[in-house]
Chain length 353, copies 2
DNA sequence: GTTAGCACTCTTTTGTTTAGAGTGCTAACA
DNA sequence: TGTTAGCACTCTAAACAAAAGAGTGCTAAC
């Protein structure tokens, strides 16, 4: 691919930015008039013609202006766009006030992130919360409830608690329950929850010969807890923002995309795809997923102590305000990192819902 | 309002049903041809003219057919529609399979309800879960975590558990924590969580002179738990179903309605409005809320032991399959009642998320 | 290398016509 | 008196045609 000279770059940049803000194909005459380059429409026409030949511009039809190609957006994102594009004060205030509000559980933080992200970028946002499946079993304990019921709580190393109410088998005494809990705790302590599979549970079973029914339900519970814990949670924001985009004035198109976003597993796949190397922009057909190949996605992962805790993304038309989106995501990214770092895990308030 | 004779009723019913299924204004000629009444188009024309005069029909313009008025729908829902309209076997199977799937938390049940409701009625569904704010404080307890942290769990009469991780004040011993928990538990036991206000907490404070910092955070936690518990939760389903409705082919209209549904408090108000007397149909302008006055809503509350535990509703165009919607809601209603009755509260698996 | 000019293309807008559906009214019929 | 056929009339939606507007490519001149 040959290098573009500065003038071509400048013109291309203007075309892209004009198209991003108007959603209309941009023509030479208009471009010349609007931004006062000291060039005539004819000259620009020639340049545009070149840019089209080089694959940066496309023409919907002969008598329309031109629109940027995926290749053009790529160049724009990587090189042309003005990098800093700092957020305005009011933007930042908006973010802060949305977060500062009140005590938030970790889920609430993600939820708020999705909301802010969509509101500020005017696009669909997606946030994936990777449940911490490295949580390590610490102990279980029975809490008394009434004569017939008790609460089984499972405590993990990072201070998360899961609980279920169980039936106390007839004739079983508190002492026995406690003994059972101790034995099981001893046997399972130190195992990552995700590791507690049938095999290990079977081993525990043979080791602890106790009331069959209770024990079975106990194991089932522990298994369920492990499973639940490791599920990735998806938060979707601002799907209705789509309706404000000119490219989604067609109800059928909206339906198509919304149908896709409705499937949680698809969204999960979307967010999980590719390596999780910081901020990543995927433009139009660069995208592997059918159905969103006329969209762009900006994605970022956050980490805590090296491992991924979450992924956020903005999805919208290829004609997207990349600079703004990237700025917002960068800011949110830094902000969340700081929250996570500060509220280090055991201190996370885990609000039951 | 004068009574309609049988023939008028029959004709009105047919017009309504035809309009419901086609979304097109229905004309006399078509009506005569489609359903073989032994009447000519002209006769029907006369009857329709009468019905219009009586306020049951409206004409978008002179040369179009006629469409039912709110008054007509009202009559239809109250009297004209065929009552039993049982669900098909496949409908019921669909419902059962959606529920039977796997162990569900109470939230999951509501979530599934919203999903099923929207899928089967092809309209937006809303489910309001009234959190059980009659939950009664039973006791709190500290569970050890590490040297610096402990988990505070709060147990209520119905077996729900809330928890937070707290910092252990320097120098405080486990014994002291336990003592504190016991004292506080004694003082608060039996109070409904919703009742635990500043006053009571203050009383506890003066009664138990202990570590200031810990105590303050303890009280804050209890207060927060009470607050969280009493929040009503809203589950929305099938908002994208809107896009399939002919009346929502206009993106602006979709945006309008979606904007309203986006506001959780609006949805809450919608569902809370009016008395909670079983099943209730609100048609078009009967509705008090601006923005949905060209929609109809079918709403039902479920109760357990006399008090309301939840509300579900279907929202769609006035041209709605009332019979179908009502059947589905009735069925779901009965089904959920049975679930709630069976899984009586202490047995509800409360899945932490 | 840049630009003005011009013919040409294609879409969008606007206006006009036509076909179709439905109505209301009148007169005839059972 | 209720029902029906017939017909003139109204209005919309679809089809078609013409005009306007935007943009291009090319050529020739600067």
């Amino acid at each position: 691919m040959e290098k573009l000279d500065d003038r071509k770059k400048k013109i291309l940049q203007l075309i892209i930015e004009d198209y991003i803000s108007t959603a209309e194909p941009v023509g030479s005459r208009n471009l010349a008039r609007k931004y006062n380059l000291n060039l005539s429409a004819a000259t620009i026409r020639n340049e545009m013609s070149d840019l089209e030949l080089l694959g940066y511009l496309e023409q919907p039809h002969t008598s329309a202006g031109r629109i940027p190609s995926v290749q053009a957006y790529r160049l724009y994102v990587d090189e042309l766009r003005e990098k800093p594009n700092n957020l305005t004060k009011s933007d930042i205030e908006m973010i802060m006030s949305s977060f500062n509000d009140r005590q938030k559980s970790i889920d609430d933080i993600f939820k708020a992130t999705a909301k802010i992200l969509s509101r500020m970028t005017k696009n669909v946002s997606m946030v994936l919360a990777d449940q911490d499946d490295t949580a390590i079993f610490r102990y279980i304990k029975f809490l008394p409830l009434d004569e017939k019921h008790a609460i089984l709580v499972l405590v993990t190393d990072n201070g998360h608690v899961d609980n279920v109410t169980i039936d106390i088998p007839k004739g079983m005494e508190t002492r026995e329950l406690d003994y059972l809990a101790n034995r099981v705790s001893e046997l399972l302590a130190g195992h990552p929850l995700s590791d507690i599979n049938e095999e290990i549970l079977e081993a525990v079973h043979t080791n602890v010969a106790e009331d069959k029914v209770l024990f079975a339900s106990l194991l089932a519970t522990i298994r369920r807890m492990g499973r639940t814990r490791s599920k990735q949670k998806v938060f979707l924001g601002g799907t209705k923002q789509l309706l404000n985009q000119p490219e989604f004035q067609d109800v059928d198109r909206v339906r198509g995309l919304l149908g896709i976003l409705d499937e949680e597993h698809v969204v999960r796949d979307l967010l999980n795809a590719g390596e999780d190397s910081g901020l990543r922009v995927t433009i139009g057909s660069e995208n592997k997923f059918t159905g969103i190949q006329d969209c762009s996605m900006v994605r970022a992962t956050y980490r805590l102590n090296g491992h991924v805790v979450g992924t956020m993304a903005v999805l919208g038309p290829t004609r997207m305000e990349y600079s703004k989106v990237i700025s917002v995501m960068n800011y949110l990214h830094r902000y969340l990192q700081s929250i996570f770092a500060a509220e280090n895990l055991p201190m996370l308030v885990r609000e039951e819902e």
